[in-house]
Every structure is written in C-alpha cells, then in structure tokens.
Point group: C2
Chain length 148, copies 2
DNA sequence: GGTGAAAGCATCTGGTG
DNA sequence: CACCAGATGCTTTCACC
C-alpha cells in the first residue's frame, strides 16, 4: 500500500467506473500497471467491491431511520438470520452495550415504518431515530495518519 | 423506472465496474440502450455515484464504532461544519430525539478512539458503541413493494 | 431502441531495469 | 517484481435508421 495505490483508491472511491487508462493518465502510469495494482488489491481484499449509490428518496423511500434493537433472551441469533431478508435494511451492525443491534433502514412513509417496527417486537425492544439529514455521506477511507 | 432499469441498477449495485455491454447481454438490450438508460438515471439523480468499498480493517483501522452526540446548546451548527474534516467519520447522520448526531467512525485502536472522543467533548455529550460485526453490508436498494 | 463504423479501452504477451 | 509497449479483441460513442 504505497502512495500510488492510495491515489488509485482515491479515484476509485470517488468514481469506480473511471477507466484504468484514465487513472493511469492522472497518476503517471500505464493502464496495465494500474490494472495489475487493482487486481492485487482485490486479491488482498483491500478492495471489497464496487457499487452504485441509488438515491432511496428518488425511488420512493421517503424516510430513513436508525432502528436500535435490544434483543430478548435467546432472540439475537434468530434475528441475525431474519434481518438479512428485510428489504428495508441497508446496513445492520452488531454493537457492544445494552443494545445489540443498530440498523439503517429506508421506508416509504410512517405507515411503512410502523409495519417494519411491528415485525421486530418479537425479537426485542426497539428504539427509532428518524434521519433528518446525511451530513457526511460515505466519506472515503484515507491512509492512516502516523500520529495516531 | 421500469423493470429493465431496476435490473440495470441491480447489476450496477452488485458491481459498478460491469460494462454496459455485459449488462446489456444479461437483460437482452444493446449497449447504447443501456448507456442511455444509465445516463438518464444519473441525470435524474436516481444514480448518485459509483464507489469502491475499501476494507478499513485491511488498511489498518482495527476498530469501528458508532458515536452518538448530544450537542450542547449552540454547538450543533459548529459541529456540523467540523465533522466534515474528520478523516475517521465515514458516515454522519443528523437524527430526531434527545441525541442529535450519529457517526460511523473507523479507528486504529483504543487510543485513537480516546483521542477522537476527546475532540468531541467541546460539542456535547457522547455515547460510544463499538461495532462487533457488520451483519448486513450495504444491501442493495430494491424496488418498493406495492403492499406498503 | 437497434445497427455499424471509428475511437478508446482492457488484457495478454514479451521485454526492460 | 513492477513496469512499459505493442497487438488483439471488447467496449464505448456517435451517426443514422
């Protein structure tokens, strides 16, 4: 992970559809060299994949929320299986503390939110925080600063 | 947003570097037709961008946490400006309720976490939840189900 | 939305330091 | 081992239908 690799990752994080040739032009390298470096980062799982951001709002999801779950005894495991099947859940984290789970969910409206939360009551107690705005959106991963 | 567009979005969300020609082959459409549909979804901001997932762990960030902030009176606005400058913050949401902000942060180690939280004390009270695992990871946005 | 030509790109090969 | 340059097959792009 030298400086050239970080430059490649910077461009790929900003626009993963940028061609290897264009990346090469910007960092002073031939396109086969760029391709080879990308391949190695994929193999090393530094690069986990390439995706497209779809605006939930533009396709009809008017609400975004963070839903926290404090699972009932014995219900965490079944929930961890079930959560994969919910279309509304964009991200789900297992966390330390009194609460076990935080989910980022997209929903059509209040009624949809109500229906979604109703599904969860068998698994535990929930807390819902409506997202008002996305202040920092998928900021790039940057090289670790030495001072830390 | 017909069914063909949703198929294109499905492939692009799974692998944004897939060529238009390959997408076209899979959905029975020519590559110029695919290109035109993608362009229109970009213009309509249905597609917000294309990115690469970089594994924070593989590049030296051993810890992930959700940090919640309850801002002191008058400190929310300055914080909303400041948060954009933190390399550790991957996502930051403004939310409803007692607490104002939830951040997803990546950190080198406990010491780095301590230093990060120390930076926040002037803005408000914090709560930290360490992420144990990422149960659902950037699940695709899917078409809204009619029943909701 | 398809087709076909031209330009551009990815990928493989062989060769250099 | 990382890189470059040239050759080949795909891809993108733009004209036109």
């Amino acid at each position: 992970m030298d400086n050239q690799n970080w430059k490649i990752l910077k461009f790929l994080q900003q626009n993963s559809r940028m061609s290897n040739a264009e990346i090469g032009r910007r960092i002073g390298m031939s396109s086969p060299a760029v391709a080879e470096r990308i391949k190695k980062m994929e193999d090393a799982e530094v690069i986990e994949g390439y995706t497209t951001f779809v605006s939930p709002f533009e396709v009809g999801y008017q609400l975004k929320a963070l839903v926290t779950l404090r699972a009932f005894m014995g219900m965490l495991k079944p929930f961890l299986e079930k959560v994969k099947t919910y279309d509304e859940v964009v991200n789900c984290y297992r966390i330390t503390g009194n609460e076990n789970i935080v989910m980022e969910v997209v929903l059509k409206n209040q009624k949809h939110l109500e229906a979604f939360i109703d599904q969860l009551i068998i698994y535990g107690e929930t807390k819902t925080q409506i997202v008002l705005s996305h202040v920092v959106k998928h900021s790039e991963v940057k090289p670790l600063n030495k001072k830390h």
